[in-house]
Amino acid sequence: MPSAVFRIWRTGETGGAFRDYSVDLVPGMVVLDAVHRIQATQAPDLAVRWNCKAGKCGSCSAEINGNPRLMCMTRLSTLPLDQPVTVEPMRAFPPIKDLVTDVSWNFKVKKTITPFTPRPADAPDGTWRMQQADVDRVQEFRKCIECFLCQDVCHVLRDHKMHDRFIGPRFFAHTAALEMNPIDSANRVPALKQQHGIGYCNITRCCTKVCPEHITITENAIIPLKERVVDEFYDPVTRLLRVFRS
């Protein structure tokens, strides 16, 4: 039976290091299968998050050969197996153990975004009327499985550690889903500019590239939101009006 070597990040008392494990290959195998195999036979305490194993829950995010990926959707047939496959945790978040990181910051950030605020219902039975064409773009963002790979790859967070003033691509997509919802009535544009730091994004498109749900985060969410910020705060006519009003 053919086998491959997996070079997996393990943490111990004194920090972390890669350890090599050899795994027998089975047709159609994904990286998460290999990790499970190692867990069941060689390292029962190997820590890894996973749930659905079908790319729907966004739990098994990791960096495979340096690329942010879902382990359950990365087939071994797409990787060069003549050399070890490296599997390490998302590096933009504090490590907990082995492949598991502390992603709690994301849950805190979400709480700071004004929740869905619907306008009064359109019909007496408390329902709204929306056209499919008008909700298509919202549904694209709502495909997000919160794997946080976009947060992991974003240099504003990963390299510049601006977690206190920048909410990251995941939450721009979340904000866009709310702002573009045809029946939402709140305005999140001032917060985008001030507390949520959308200006720090210089549209390098890394988030869009790694999104396992193929959400076009940069073009469809971030850029339109940036345009709204510009319209509201930097449009010369509106600015002038604001001066007069104050």
Partner: protein
């Protein structure tokens, strides 16, 4: 031992759809609420639900009503459902769906801008509100985003090891947080179990690692009763190739959109065996079936949309009789619709995006061009904690259960789409009545000795490491193989008696399970503790299945292949006897009011 302690009026265990909905409702009632999740928030198994949520909104077909939904649910469950739960479910589901929209869910739309509904197995009219094939994600995200703004405390990656009782009442829970491996005590006036299913007792399953029957087993150990445990739903269409994806679900939505099941001879074998009680509702030819999936109100549904238990057995038959696909399943073909529809490829990608994605990435199959290979997979357990229909309280005062871990609504077989509506309707009710219970009844004291006993017991796998105990993964794997082969889709007395003997042996092995390493984020430890739940649930399934000497819904016996009227008059209930053994008894079905009987007759 001093351990960190939290106190709540209502404590909810499980943060899938039912748990979140219960926590929301309890919060709205003004009591303090704690919510425990085994994984991160938003990752629960609800996220996997694909097809939709069943509710008689009548947006697509105005002939639909709660009465039709009620009758469909009872017929699908082969009339051993709790009629009151089926009634409440059918009546309240539409409001539960509409309120999701008010909380930000964005469903697919009809041409006039209302919530779109799709066809599904066993539902007479198009009834499933949906978002493509990722409805569960929409539902859980909507509830989660509402929840975090309602002031409930969320404890993520926390595993409950015991539900405590004092003087016969639920008083709290003991468990540990995974990150540091530290024990915590939660005291609560009311506890809601919303822990989902137990599919991990089987080798081939659509369930994630979390589906280990925790709530079933915790309730059982705390003195509550389990009901209908023999009824397991084997979903007819799971992926079968490649081996690493075996069991992953292929939504019934594929068949709802016109997908057909074919054997190796290219025959639509579902036309060969249409049960008598569904004949008048089923299409007589392929053309009528196709027209039904495209919304023709004068057409009847294709046989692929018969109930899941029946379709799964037909697939097994084809395979057994040598007409299966090369890898031991049958073919599911949606690509054929290109002969009927212009832009079929775009249509499939739009209606079934995650199925397209799943097959493309995991199996190198383009479902818009070629058929899928599918076979049955353990998907859902109809059985669960026996609860009061209106309040969802178990036989232990203060202990509630909702969603998959509760029994009653589904009877012998659940209709697709009825689980998302179940968890909304009864999640809400559990939260509401748990809050009411907490307001009327103060917390009862937790026995310190019980807490110590629970933590000591949970640490035993570490002690066994010194004495050289067994790897818990190996025991779990042996259990899964045993249940799959001896208490699977087709059952016999001899095999199930053998299963009981094997369970005894596995229990002895599990008692010696050992773990290496320390307590911090240790999946081996977790697996050792999960094993106990899986063993309890497996025993309840096996004993109940032995007791039901007939075939009905998700329970099929080769030695009693027919349905027996006598067995349609009671449910099978298990509970822990005073000597610690599992007691099995037959409990008569509550009598159904005449007006509901009439509704069922009218819908025949």
């Amino acid at each position: 031992m001093q351990i960190e302690t939290f106190e709540y009026d209502v404590l909810v265990i499980g943060a899938g759809g039912a748990g979140l909905r219960a926590a929301l409702e309890a919060s709205a009632a003004g009591v303090s609420v704690g919510l425990i999740c085994k994984s991160l928030l938003g990752k629960a198994h609800t996220v996997m639900a694909e097809g939709g949520v069943a509710a008689a909104l009548a947006n697509v077909d105005d002939r639909d009503s709660w009465k039709v939904h009620f009758a469909d649910t009872m017929r699908g469950g082969q009339y051993v459902n709790n009629w009151r739960m089926a009634e409440l479910h059918a009546k309240e589901a539409p409001d539960r769906v509409r309120e999701l929209e008010a909380w930000g869910a964005v469903f697919d739309r009809t041409a006039d801008g209302r919530i779109l509904q799709r066809n599904f197995g066993g539902h007479r009219y198009p009834r499933l509100a949906h978002v493509g094939d990722r409805t569960g994600l929409e539902l859980i995200r909507t509830l989660q985003d509402q929840g975090v703004h309602r002031g409930m405390d969320v404890h993520m990656e926390f595993t409950v090891v015991r539900v405590l009782t004092s003087g016969g009442r639920a008083s709290g829970v003991v468990g540990y947080e995974r990150e540091r491996g530290r024990f915590k005590l939660f005291k609560a006036a009311a506890i809601v179990l919303a822990t989902g299913g137990a599919g991990r007792a089987y080798r081939i399953t659509s369930n994630s690692w979390e589906g280990t029957g925790d709530g079933h087993s915790l309730a059982y150990q705390a003195g509550a009763e389990l009901m209908d445990m023999e009824f397991i739903q084997f979903h007819p269409t799971g992926m079968i190739w490649p081996p690493s994806v075996q069991g992953i679900l292929v939504t019934e939505g594929v068949r709802g959109e016109g997908g057909v099941l074919l054997n190796s001879q290219g025959r639509r074998f579902m036309f060969d065996s249409i049960p008598e009680n569904y004949r008048s509702q089923t299409a007589t030819d392929e053309d009528e079936g196709w027209r039904y999936t495209q919304g023709d109100k004068s057409a009847r549904r294709p046989p692929e949309l018969l109930t899941r238990d029946h379709v799964a057995r037909c697939i097994m038959r084809e395979v057994k009789e040598g007409r299966g696909s090369p890898r031991g399943g049958v073919f599911l073909d949606i690509a054929w619709i290109k002969s009927r529809l212009p832009n079929a490829e775009e249509h499939i990608k739009r209606k079934l995006p995650s199925m397209y994605h799943q097959f493309k990435e995991l199996a190198d199959i383009d479902i818009t061009k070629e058929p899928m290979e599918v076979g049955p997979t353990t998907h859902y357990i109809m059985g669960g904690v026996r609860v009061d229909a209106d309040t969802q309280m178990s036989t232990v005062p203060g202990l509630f259960a909702a969603g998959e871990c509760a029994a009653g609504i589904n009877g012998a077989n659940r209709l697709g789409g009825n689980s998302l509506s179940d968890l909304l309707v009864f999640g809400k009710r559990a939260g509401e009545y748990a809050a009411e219970f907490a307001k009327a009844n103060k917390r009862v004291a937790v026995g310190e000795a019980d807490v110590n006993a629970a933590t000591e017991d949970a640490l035993k796998p570490f002690e066994h490491a010194q004495s050289g105990g067994e790897n818990p993964y190996a025991i779990q794997s042996a259990l899964q193989d045993m249940m799959q082969s001896l208490v699977g889709i087709v059952r016999t007395e001899t095999e199930m008696q053998k299963a009981l003997a094997e369970l005894k042996a596995l229990r002895a092995r599990a008692a010696q399970a050992s773990v290496t390493g320390h307590r911090e984020y240790n999946p081996g430890w977790h697996t050792a503790l999960d094993l106990r739940h899986l063993l309890t649930v497996s025993e309840a399934i096996t004993r109940s299945a032995i007791e039901r000497k007939e075939s009905r819904g998700g329970h099929f016996r080769d030695d009693y292949p027919e349905k027996a009227a006598e067995f349609g008059t009671f449910n099978i209930v298990t509970r822990k006897a005073p000597d610690g053994s599992m007691e099995v008894r037959r409990v008569p079905l509550p009598p159904m009011p005449a007006e509901l009987k009439q509704i069922i007759e009218d819908q025949e």
